[in-house]
Assembly symmetry: C2
Homo-oligomer: 227 residues x 2
């Protein structure tokens, strides 16, 4: 369902060139559960941004469900993104002037649900991550781990085929983290494809496959038992 071919992403800062991704080849099949690990700055978030169609590679091709994303215009890319992908950002990216509820309703604007149905589904998603009592709070009225969970609820509300989560438990205590990982396990069992970035071995253990990155390259790609 995902096929990256010799993907490169280069940034320029002043007269410096940074190869954030440097020839990445990756295939992920439907209903896989993959963990991405690696040192700070090794290219994990950049990889996720490209997988999520939020940014284009400098070189290489990305086939998503057989379609060549690298040839699509930005309107087509946005449509694919909204229909197929749920994304949890490393820094959450919530809209500061809206409540948790409004933030979670947002992805459903593109679906064919009426406003009452959107509200109902957004409430259910927030309750699933334990934020029932905090729906009317805005992001600056929430704790770090609560904002993280709003970001997770928002990524899941439209029931996307592919969930991309960048450090989804980085701000969560172990009990809350276990609840979220239990939720991801259920989603995986019901057919979802999950790719998550984590720096914690306990979290990676929930995945079936572990990819390790270093300096913009994939260094190892093993079953989670062998990793």
């Amino acid at each position: 369902v995902i096929q990256l071919d010799n993907i490169t992403k280069v940034y320029k800062v002043g007269d410096e060139t940074i190869r954030a991704l440097d020839g990445v080849n990756l295939e992920v099949g439907p209903n896989e559960y993959v963990a991405v690990m690696g040192t700070s700055g090794s290219g994990k978030s950049t990889l996720m941004t490209i997988l999520g169609c939020l940014d284009r590679p400098t070189a290489g091709t990305y086939l998503l469900d057989g379609k060549l994303t690298t040839r699509m215009g930005s309107a087509a890319l946005a449509r694919v993104r909204n229909e197929r992908i749920g994304f949890v950002f490393q820094s959450f990216e919530l809209l500061p002037r809206f409540t948790a509820l409004k933030n979670v309703e947002l992805p459903l604007i593109y679906s064919r649900s009426g406003w009452w149905n959107r509200r109902k589904r957004a409430k259910a998603a927030l309750e699933t991550v334990g934020l029932g009592p905090r729906m009317r709070h805005r992001p600056n009225q929430l704790s770090g781990g609560q904002r993280q969970r709003v970001a997770i609820a928002r990524a899941l509300v439209a029931r996307p085929a592919i969930l991309l989560a960048d450090e989804p438990t980085g701000n969560l205590d172990s009990a809350t983290s276990d609840e979220i990982l239990g939720l991801f396990d259920q989603l995986h069992t019901s057919g979802q494809t999950i790719i998550l970035v984590t720096h914690e071995a306990d979290v990676a253990r929930h995945a079936r496959r572990v990819i390790r990155m270093k300096d913009g390259k994939i260094r190892s790609d093993l079953g989670s038992q062998e990793d």
Copy 2:
């Protein structure tokens, strides 16, 4: 050096009242190394904000180095903060339009160093956290863990007597995290008082004392061996 007496912090959202801190008593002596743990939303960041003189409690008193902070005006509070405290925020709070270097130089504006000395010290702080090659990058040109390390360097550059760090390794892989914790160990050995919030037991292990919070209260306060 730190004495909290029956500290309460209440927020109002609509007609709802949230007791983020609910009668907290805490004493921390000079050169202690304390870890604060607890579930998401239990009041850890609110506690840190009050300790860091970044916010005032709703009730209760806070004696810092024998001075009653709760009676100080905001100018006096700001001075105490700049002279005594280094703060690492859970969401980093870097200035987006400035480079990593400028961000780290900022706390030294209050000190009596000339600009050349400030630049030299900021560079040294960034090199200590492994960001020598990234000094001229702005926050949106950095990875999550790199931003976290800029926030750490900024908190340390003025060599504050008290370091308050809210989840300082939340976005760091284990190797980079060990480097940062090694740095904190050195600072502790050289006399600094350190209070850090963490949700990871491996990180809390570096501290000498572990405080656990729940629902705005301190539930346990033990030596890190007994915790």
